[in-house]
Symmetry: C2
Subunit: 364 residues, 2 copies
């Protein structure tokens, strides 16, 4: 499958798959590298002896090691989940920046329930936090590339959680943070919404408390797919039957394409990513003792928050609330009816590229 198709996000990819009658998503293809983290102590207290982080790079590190941009992956996505931002005349020109796109723990490529041997396999994998991902990526950057200070971290959704956590964990080590369609903590609404997704999957007894082996809980994954179908985009998107622009000719066809997408993922990996998403709060960063305001006020990086106007996961109000707490934070609302899935909306992608480019070049 050509890179361009990989770079698109879920709605479009899954429709493309349905139309092309391909058996599975080319998840994780694209020549990624593996960084050996060796022993890693997760925030939940578990130390796993052999762990690793997968990633791809674009461009070259400059001599002063000052041009690194980090792109952390999002829920169910991989290291190609930001390709639409990379290129000449896009937000990130690989002739200017050294771009490192990482895979989160539990996404199925970096160390995950699905790819870790006993005794940490499947449901015995430690609970992952957003901070675990931030610390692991920091080890990649310092140990592999010798980079102690990065130009920017840019993230979508759970990637945005990682980007804002980076700004809190390493306040002197990053110049720019762009967080779109994601927040510095998961608010109660999101926690509850994710409970719906997890419960739908786990209602299938074939999940077997995570020990399903090679027999995935197919009914549960299909239920999870139908859960996300309504949450992912806006009410107006559905009312206008925008699925027709993705190649689906009916609601049912659109739903089935969604099932194909989610069935290509591992159930435990999805649950572990959801837990990390659900439990996130920068206030729990060591040193802040649960003080959310203090954690956000400590940020030195220049921050751009970009909520989607119709995002049902991360409503604009939450970003406005956080903007008030982050010194000098800017906000740009993404105009789109694509809800959370703005990254499948070509116009929204143009908007993102244009605003991020301007922010990195002109932020004062």
């Amino acid at each position: 499958m050509p890179r361009g198709v990989e770079a698109m996000s879920c709605q479009r990819i899954l429709i493309a798959i349905a139309l092309l009658m391909q058996p599975a998503l080319s998840f994780g293809e694209g020549g990624h590298k593996t960084f050996d983290l060796a022993e890693f102590q997760f925030e939940d207290g578990t130390t796993v002896p052999k762990t690793f982080l997968t990633y791809v790079t674009h461009g070259e590190l400059n001599r002063s090691k000052s041009n690194l941009v980090l792109l952390p992956s999002w829920y169910s996505g991989d290291h190609h989940g930001y390709d639409y931002l990379i290129g000449r005349n896009k937000a990130l020109d690989p002739k200017k920046y050294f771009i490192v796109a990482t895979d989160m723990f539990a996404n199925g490529l970096s160390s995950s329930p699905s790819n870790t041997p006993p005794p940490y396999d499947g449901p015995r994998f430690p609970q992952v936090s957003i901070r675990d991902n931030v610390y692991a990526a920091n080890r990649l950057l310092t140990e592999e590339f010798g980079v102690e200070h990065i130009k920017a971290v840019i993230g979508f959704s759970m990637g945005a959680q990682q980007a804002l956590q980076w700004a809190v964990s390493f306040p002197e080590s990053v110049d720019f943070v762009v967080a779109y369609c994601g927040n510095a903590k998961e608010y109660p609404f999101g926690i509850v919404r994710l409970e719906g997704a997890k419960s739908a999957l786990m209602a299938d007894s074939a999940w077997m408390d995570g020990d399903y082996g090679k027999q995935p809980p197919e009914k549960g994954l299909r239920a999870l797919a139908r859960h996300w179908a309504a949450w992912g985009v806006s009410q107006e998107w559905w009312r206008r039957e925008t699925f027709r622009t993705t190649g689906a000719s009916s609601i049912e066809e659109s739903l089935r394409a969604g099932e194909t997408y989610w069935l290509s993922r591992d159930a435990n990996d999805l649950l572990w990513q959801a837990n990390a998403w659900q439990n996130h709060n920068v206030a729990e960063t060591p040193g802040y003792g649960g003080d959310f305001e203090a954690a956000l006020k400590s940020i030195n990086a220049r921050v751009l928050l970009m909520p989607s106007e119709t995002d049902l996961y991360f409503p604009v109000e939450d970003a406005l609330y956080e903007q008030k707490l982050i010194p000098g934070a800017k906000i740009e609302r993404i105009p789109s009816i694509w809800g959370h899935d703005v990254v499948s909306d070509p116009a929204a992608i143009d908007f993102l590229n244009s605003k991020i480019l301007a922010f990195l070049n002109n932020a004062q």
Copy 2:
């Protein structure tokens, strides 16, 4: 349990239950009557030989038989689901109106999968349409009370679907229609959202294609509960931790109270109601051949649409769209952060009473 408690809707009832440690919701208590529909042909073509409709009344029918107000039940609710509108100085004074509150097919009180003998028991119960409910209620009103023309039909949610269908099916037989938090058809977004709820329940193999007998699919019902938890109210409701006003002291306690509520309902009944909700469209009324605009333009009743400003099920945009198609329709937005569940918000109930009272008294 006192009538006042019964009159409150789900969020509050379920918290009240959790706090009082009562074993089950007093669903259907309150002295309802049963109207024998005898043989009834459902829109799906199935004729069931013995069917019935349950209901309660308030007030007296006047001599000219011109003061009947119909209140059709909503998803998971019963004939006491509108008690907050009834009383002196409320929208519906029983000294003025003869109020008939009916139970929908499949709500567990009127003929339902859970209370119908073989061969139409459980999953063999016919698929129910909103029009089936409207025709059945019309038989009650004409055969039991001799009423051919009603003053008003007022409905919330699936009750609003019934109210608007009434205006299309019997354009000369109703003066006023109030539809709040509900539409004349289910839009694609709602269809997909309901797929999420149904799939979560049916992912539980204990559902057994509906033949679970006396062993309800508990995991599936809990998953359905968690599905609705995020949809039922607004993002802002959760961010403000409004569940604390209902007696719950944590997200988890609020979720568990929701599970108690949904576990008190029958799984097939919930699925059959969801199907009726999902498949509804006034355009399918005989004579309109699928023409939605023509169906709405045929309405003679005075119509008041009342969307909740934060309803994730029935967004304001859909009501505005329908307002344009219904001759002379008025619209009043309900200001509330309670999303779809405005009927648990005391301020919203005051607003509903005040606006509906004024509409019935002053509509020109």
